[in-house]
């Protein structure tokens, strides 16, 4: 790594929160206190206690178990959605920066077009057209990530193409594709990683929003957004059901953002400049 700088305290807190959420999701694969989908009407809307540390919902399902499984859904949706954005958007952005001309123009116009539709509206449209469900939510969120990553990759790559080391690579007989992969990509990786954590957090929020509208994961699947959706009916009766999944979302997104900021501070080369850097010494 180019920089010996350590992650900041906030960055470590973010990393720790993200790790806990991921760990919870992984644990939920093999163990939850209760089966999150099993109803126990006798114990419905019971408060926190020994059997149910965080209480139960209106069907008597264990809230803690639901939250654990919800973490899994949130992470799965976000990973795939961001992966879709990175996988398609980054090559598109690199291509636009490398080729310029009409390819660049086309990619940028496609971007403008994508940004003309509010993200959530697009997502609502897609899930409404293709039918609600986790897969379509992923598709909807991922689709919006493509132009984001295309724009970020292009924006970071363009100034690099003017740098002398790229001209040196051209003199060394390297083609544009090769330069994009060998020189440009490693140099914009930091920017992309930071953007990915931001998009990851946004994807979690978007998934929650779609599920809350009833367009994301469908019952009996459990997700934080769904829990909020169902909790609203009992808002006045049992606010706990609305507060807990929201807190889970806030904590996860907060952790990811702290991590992203920490990484940015670490990777930002501008912070490495010293006092008198105008002329190069010995």
């Amino acid at each position: 790594m180019a920089s010996p700088r350590r992650l900041s305290a906030a960055g470590w807190i973010g990393a720790a929160i993200a790790a806990v959420v991921i760990l919870t999701a992984l644990v939920s694969l093999v163990w939850t206190p209760h089966d999150p989908t099993v109803m126990d009407v006798a114990n419905k809307l019971s408060g926190p206690g020994a059997a149910h540390p965080l209480g139960t919902d209106h069907f008597g399902r264990d809230t803690l178990s639901q939250l654990m499984v919800g973490a899994r859904v949130s992470i799965a949706v976000s990973v795939v959605a961001v992966g879709l954005g990175v996988g398609l958007g980054v090559p598109l952005g690199l291509l636009a920066a490398a080729r310029r001309g009409w390819i660049d123009e086309a990619v940028m116009r496609f971007n403008d077009l994508a940004f003309a539709f509010p993200a959530l509206l697009t997502a609502v449209l897609i899930t409404a057209l293709l039918g609600p469900g986790a897969i379509n939510a992923i598709l909807a969120i991922g689709l919006f990530n493509i132009p984001v990553f295309a724009r970020v990759a292009r924006g970071a790559a363009l100034p690099l193409w003017k740098r002398p080391f790229i001209q040196a690579a051209r003199l060394a007989g390297r083609g544009r594709t090769r330069i994009s992969l060998d020189h440009i990509l490693p140099n914009i990786a930091g920017t992309l990683i930071v953007q990915a954590t931001i998009q990851f957090a946004l994807a979690i929020l978007a998934e929650a929003g779609l599920s809350y509208l009833g367009l994301g994961s469908q019952p009996p699947e459990v997700s934080w957004g769904r829990m909020l959706n169902e909790a609203q009916t009992f808002l006045f009766l049992e606010p706990r059901l609305a507060v807990l999944p929201g807190l889970a979302i806030v904590l996860t997104v907060l952790g990811l953002n702290l991590l992203g900021d920490g990484l940015r501070d670490r990777l930002d080369p501008r912070l490495e400049t010293g006092l008198e850097t105008r002329r190069e010494g010995g």
């Binding site: 002398p164 001209q167 060394a172």
Partner: protein, 332 residues
């Protein structure tokens, strides 16, 4: 049968579009290089001097085929790099390499020195086996005075002068005939600049390398090159043996450049320098066919300079200048 000149440039023009002032304005262009010719033989050195924006850097990019000329020809060893098929261009590129101004910017910060210096081999010399690359790289580094311990360092771990040495090693690794250096020492401190200039002198002496040395610094050009070409607004206005041109300029611009260099002798001799004429016009105001490009700030300008365009005419042994009053300028 003589072999073709190592480098022959004929009347190259390179124009860039100007931003339009309004939608219906004609698409204006500024000619960064406006019809320059030059020749360079094996083992020769030529300095290109001029102020920033005079087109000297653009010329270096035309010579290395980083950009194609809009008109005119570039020939390297008899081949036009802009019409060659890709494989032949690669072979040709092994013979022409470049050193850039900014020692930090010309090295990929995420690559090791070994990988940086090996890149031209990987891209241009597929016949060199992978196993031999490291040896060739170490050899090139040794030629610029760096040991094998530099191989696994990153650019930010070495000093500015060493970075420029690494860039020179990269240019040498394919054993080229010609190295184009674009302001290679202008970002360096004086003491380090001397180290790098010595290296260029040494490489020329030992390898018989031809050198195209672009710089704004007359003293530096005088030190490392045999011939010089002076540029103003994309035009070559004077050329000839460096020592002769700089000690007795035939073009007013060369004379002005020389007179403007601050001298330490001023400390005891007093500051006896002619006050300088007005500012140069912005490049887009200089149109071809408008008379001499330099006349707006030329103390020697006469009416004739606005009506006719001076061309490079012989003014001495191996020398030529594009000025109607060249003889007078040389005389006084």
């Amino acid at each position: 049968m003589t072999e073709p000149a190592l480098l022959a440039v004929r009347d190259v023009v390179r124009a860039y579009p100007l931003p339009r002032r309004h939608p219906l304005a004609p698409a204006g262009t500024v000619r960064a290089v406006a019809g320059v010719s030059l020749d360079l033989a094996r083992g020769e050195s030529l300095g290109i001097v001029g102020e920033s924006g005079c087109g000297k850097s653009t010329l270096s990019r035309l010579v290395t085929a980083l950009e194609p000329p809009d008109a005119g020809r570039v020939h390297i060893a008899g081949h036009d790099p802009n019409t060659l098929p890709r494989m032949a261009l690669r072979r040709l590129r092994r013979r022409v390499q470049m050193v850039f101004q900014d020692p930090m910017g010309s090295l990929d910060p995420r690559w090791t020195v070994a990988r940086i210096v090996a890149e031209p081999l990987a891209g241009l010399a597929p016949d060199v086996p992978r196993a031999d690359r490291r040896a060739r790289v170490a050899e090139a580094l040794a030629a610029v005075g760096l040991g094998a311990e530099a191989l696994d360092l990153y650019p930010h771990q070495v000093s500015g002068g060493q970075r420029q040495r690494i860039a020179i090693a990269r240019a040498l690794v394919t054993d080229p005939d010609l190295v184009v250096a674009d302001e290679p020492v202008s970002a360096l401190d004086v003491s380090v600049q001397a180290q790098v200039l010595n290296l260029f002198l040494d490489l020329r002496a030992r390898r018989g390398l031809a050198l195209l040395f672009v710089s704004h610094d007359l003293d530096v050009v005088r030190h490392v090159t045999e011939r010089v070409l002076v540029m103003v607004h994309g035009h070559a206005v004077e050329t000839g043996p460096t020592e002769a041109v700089l000690s007795r300029p035939a073009h007013p611009h060369t004379a002005a450049l020389r007179a403007a260099v601050p001298r330490i002798e001023a400390a005891w001799e007093g500051r006896a320098r002619a006050r300088h004429a007005g500012a140069p016009p912005p490049p887009e105001d200089v149109r071809p066919g408008d008379g001499c490009v330099y006349r707006a700030r030329c103390p020697w300008a006469v009416d004739h300079c606005a009506r006719a365009v001076p061309t490079l005419e012989p003014v001495g042994p191996g020398r030529s200048a594009a000025c109607f009053r060249a003889r007078e300028v040389m005389g006084g």
